[in-house]
Structures are given as C-alpha cells and as structure tokens.
C-alpha cells in the first residue's frame, strides 16, 4: 500500500540547501514503506516526509490522524495547519489539566526540528478530525494536506484503522468556542 509520501514544499523551505535534501534519503530509506516523491512546479526539495500515516476509524464523531513527520532539511519546519476533504481539522496536543491528560489545540503548530522527526501518535500530538462528513470506515483512504509556515504544503493519504485507544478527553479551551467538548470515540 502506498501510505508514505514524500512531498515537496515550496521555495521558502526548500532554501535549506541540498545538504538537508541529502539527509532525506536516510530518513526515507530507513522506512521500508514505499515513498513516492511528488513534485510541484515551485518546489525544489523534499522538506517534509510523512511516514506511516493512519487514521483511527470512527462510525460517528471526531477522530484523529497519526504519522511520523520527518524533517529532511537543516532548518526547523513548522506545520501551521492541516486540511482534509473528509473533515475540518485541528492540530492538537496533549496536556495535563486538573490532574488528567486532555487534548487541546496546539498553539503555534507542530515544530519539527532540523533533521528531526515528530511523532503524531495516540496519546500525543495528532491531527484532529473535528467533524467528519461521513463515517471513517476501516480501510478508507483519506487525503490530507499540511500547510507549512512559509507557504509550502505537503499532501498525503492515510488509511483508516480500527483502533480502540486514543480516547483522550478534549478540552477545547477558550479558543474553540464552536467545538463540542467531551470525550470522543
């Protein structure tokens, strides 16, 4: 299955030299999953690789997407926002609140250190599908786009997996007046 996609960000990120680009082969080679490199007219380097993406299947309500984000460049990369035709999305993180771990929107986005990786995983940072327009069925393949600081974008496809974990409580905080609070399935 083609689940990993090396995608190319546009100029602002690609400025970080071919040396950073060279390290991308290490990152992608270590993953045995196939990596497809998409090129776009404005792109000159693969800045961010999305490895092993998947979504928690959900009949109803909110759900989450996970992956390993690999920064192939010599400069930090920030994921500012994410979008999907399947659902409005938010970048979420887990935090301790009143003695319990709850999730809340990630201020400032996900920062992936130069040459580093950033795990989006159950119990940690993740992409939250706030209101899927249809049930996310096991085996469905959902499209996502990450928007990077500086204007680049990264597309990937994630498969939906039956998964019992990741039942974190959601604390939308003050910045999220419209979202419905409470545990999600």
């Amino acid at each position: 299955m083609m689940l990993t996609r090396t995608v190319v960000a546009v100029a602002a990120l690609a400025l970080t030299t071919l040396a950073g680009c060279g390290s991308s082969s290490d990152s992608t080679a270590s993953s045995a999953a196939p990596a497809a490199t998409a090129t776009s007219a404005s792109a000159t380097a693969a800045a961010l690789t999305v490895r092993d993406p998947w979504v928690k299947a959900a009949d109803t309500g909110m759900t989450a997407a996970f992956a390993t984000l690999v920064n192939n460049t010599g400069a930090d990369v920030t994921v500012e926002s994410a979008s999907s035709p399947a659902s409005p999305l938010e970048l979420h993180t887990m935090t301790m609140k009143d003695g319990a771990m709850v999730m809340e929107p990630k201020e400032g986005g996900f920062v992936i250190k130069a040459g580093g990786t950033h795990e989006l995983s159950p119990g940690g940072d993740h992409l939250m599908l706030m209101k899927p327009s249809a049930p996310v069925k096991p085996g469905d393949e959902l499209s996502f786009t990450l928007k990077l600081a500086g204007g680049g974008t990264v597309d990937f496809t994630a498969v939906a997996k039956p998964f019992a974990g990741a039942q974190e409580s959601y604390d939308p905080g003050m910045s999220m007046p419209s979202a419905s609070a409470g545990a999600h399935q």
């Binding site: 299955m1 999953a33 299947a57 096991p138 085996g139 039956p162 998964f163």
Partner: protein
C-alpha cells in the same frame, strides 16, 4: 538443582542422570532464527512451498452481512499492509505492542478466500465445499469460513502477536469462525527438508512433491493455488494399544525410518507388487500409503500440516491430532480422488476422525503498493 542451573547458565547441560559422573555436552551455539525474513511481496503468496516453520495458526472468518466487494477491498488493503510490515519485522500501523514485532522468525501470512467470500463479492467461486465422506464427523466449529489467514513462524509469540494485529483489523468486517493452531518440530531440531512427525509418531509428508514437481502440483499459471484445511482428530488411546508391527501395517511404513515396508529408507519407492511368503502384498492393500498413492506426479498434493495437542480431559485422554493442510492447483482434480480412496478404505481411519473441513482459493501474491486479492476484487 542449583548445579544444573549454573551449568546451563555456563552453556553446558548435563546429558546423563545425576548418579553418574556428569558428562557435559555443549549447548548448540546460538543460532539467530528471530531475524529470518521471507519475502511477502511477489507473484505468489508465501507460506506455501517454503519450508514450514515450527508454528502455524489458521484463522477463519465469517464475513459480516453487508460486507460487499468494496468492503472486501478495504479489508484486504488493511490486512495486506499489516502482513507486509509484520513479515519484515516491523510493527503494523497503530501497533500497540510494537516490541513484539521485531522477531519475524520467517513469519508468513497467507490469505485464502472461501466460497462465501466470492458469494459476498458477487463472483463465481473457484472452490466448493468438499462432498461429505462417510468417515467425516464434522463439527461446525472447525468447518467452513469465508476468509482464512494462515500465520506461520518459527516463533510462537510472533504468531500470537501477528494474529492479534490481523484480527483487530479484520473484525469490523466479520467474526472469528474458528482458529486452529498447530506445531511442528522447532527450528534447529532438524535440518531443513526433514519430514516432520505427527502425534502418532509417524513421519508425515514423505510423499510430498519436491522442486519442479512441486511447481506443477501447487501453482496455477496465474500464481493462484487452492487450500484444503481438515482437522483430523487422532485417537491416541486406541493407537497406544497397537504393536509397532500393527502400526506399521496401518500406514505401510516403518515407524522409525518412515521407509515403506518394501524398502529400507524413507524415500524408497514402495513396491506394491511385492508379496510375502503367504502371497499377500507386503504393502497391505488397506494401508494408508497404498490407498493414498498417486502415480501421476501432477495429481499429487503438497501436504503442509501442523500437529495440535490441546488440553487432555479429566481422565487424561488427549485432544490431539493434525491440522491437515494441503495445497494443490485444483482441489477437485488432485485432492478429491485421494480423499475418496482414503474415505473408502484406509486402515488408519480406525484411529483418525476428520472433525473439521474447509476449502479456500489462494489468490496470487502482490507487488509493493498492491494488495492480496486485487485481481479478484478490484
């Protein structure tokens, strides 16, 4: 016992009883079996003609109502991805026990489609349930199945973890119908190519085709094949009553060597024309080997069975037997004639009872990026 423990820890085990001077034999050097990897992707599925490992588990599912062709495609994409990752020693996506995935030990996952899967997909099935045989005492709990996953590895914990991950992805699409787990000799006990012994002590699989002959027996031109799974209960209590000579007459082979009664070595061809001093055939005409014998090599089957041995009952009577599995290009052409002859007459039937039966078409393998069954379901 502390002495034995420390001796073992030092790499030596006592090979003689405690009363004599302990002669020690070195424990075999550590052999790395855990990292063994068999390819998942390819024209053909793995787990069929490769040397069977020590442990096997067959998991059969009954598809949930409404699992249509599109849903089957989603199911097989998920399962293919799990199998591809786990067989190369990587965790499945969303693997909650990733540390259990690192020792594949020649792990294979082989998928088979039962007649019910084709019905669900609106397709004509290449396989049909076997006809009833008079010797059968089939139980529903060991029979049938729309989808089978054969999970094999030299490590039992790896089989267990793989089975757990596959079932987690499969169960939105169906229910577990049966699971049959079995075992053979462990890796390192025999050289590769040795014939395994079953719980009766018999060498089991001597007549299996090899190399080029195996190609013809197993594979269709499109790299598909067909699988029969039969659960055969062995009555070891009554088998125990037999003399060695009687046991050998029932099969037509020597218990120790596996040689036919007309020969001296396991792979000697049995001579069905040879008679003894009383004029009776040396290979009894009711013996298992005589009845199962196939002259045309193309009509053979590839036996790939695993032993089972569940908990005995309160009286200590075993619940054991064979998870018989055979691969052949065409069940009707190859398996059925043999099974008909055995059902009609085979002395071994006295001590064996088929209690489960299932058939599956094994679709071709797939390349990276593809999925098992895509040529059937896509």
């Amino acid at each position: 016992m502390a002495g034995l423990g420390s001796a073992a820890a030092a790499g030596y085990l006592s090979a003689t009883p405690a009363e004599s001077a302990p002669a020690t034999v070195p424990v075999a050097d550590f052999q790395d079996i855990g990292t063994g990897i068999l390819p998942f992707y390819g024209d053909r599925q793995s787990g069929i003609t490769d040397e069977p490992p020590a442990h096997g588990s067959f998991v059969a599912l009954t598809l949930a109502k409404g699992t249509d062709r599109a849903a089957l495609g989603r199911l097989m994409r998920l399962l293919t991805d799990d199998a591809a990752r786990l067989t190369r020693g990587e965790p499945a996506l969303g693997d909650t026990d990733a540390e259990l995935a690192v020792h594949p030990a020649r792990l294979t996952v082989t998928f088979g489609f039962g007649p019910g899967l084709y019905r669900a997909a609106g397709l004509k099935s290449p396989v049909a349930d076997l006809p009833a045989f008079t010797i059968d005492r089939l139980e529903d709990r060991w029979s049938g199945g729309d989808l089978v996953m054969q999970i094999c590895s030299d490590d039992s914990l790896t089989v267990s973890h793989t089975q757990r991950m596959l079932i987690k992805d499969a169960r939105p699409f169906g229910a577990i119908r049966w699971v049959q787990r079995g075992f053979r000799r462990s890796a390192g006990v025999h050289k590769a190519g040795f014939t395994q012994r079953n719980v009766f002590g018999q060498l089991d699989g001597t007549a299996n085709p090899k190399d080029a002959a195996m190609e013809t027996v197993v594979w269709n031109a499109d790299h598909s094949t067909q699988l029969v799974v039969r659960r055969v209960r062995t009555d070891i209590e009554t088998w125990d009553l037999l003399s060695v000579g009687d046991k050998e007459n029932s099969t037509g082979r020597r218990m120790e060597s596996g040689a036919p009664l007309t020969g001296t070595a396991e792979h000697d061809e049995p001579d069905f024309t040879k008679t003894d001093s009383t004029g009776l055939p040396v290979m009894p005409n009711f013996s298992h080997v005589t009845r199962a014998h196939v002259t045309d090599p193309a009509l053979k089957i590839l036996r790939r069975p695993f032993n089972y041995d569940e908990a005995p009952d309160a009286q200590g009577r075993p619940d054991s037997g064979l998870v018989f599995a055979s691969y052949q290009a065409d069940i009707v052409r190859q398996y059925l004639p043999i099974q008909r002859r055995l059902a009609e007459k085979d002395l071994l039937n006295e001590w064996t009872t088929p209690i489960g039966s299932a058939v599956f078409a094994i679709p071709p393998g797939c390349t990276e990026g593809g999925w098992i069954g895509e040529r059937v379901l896509a």
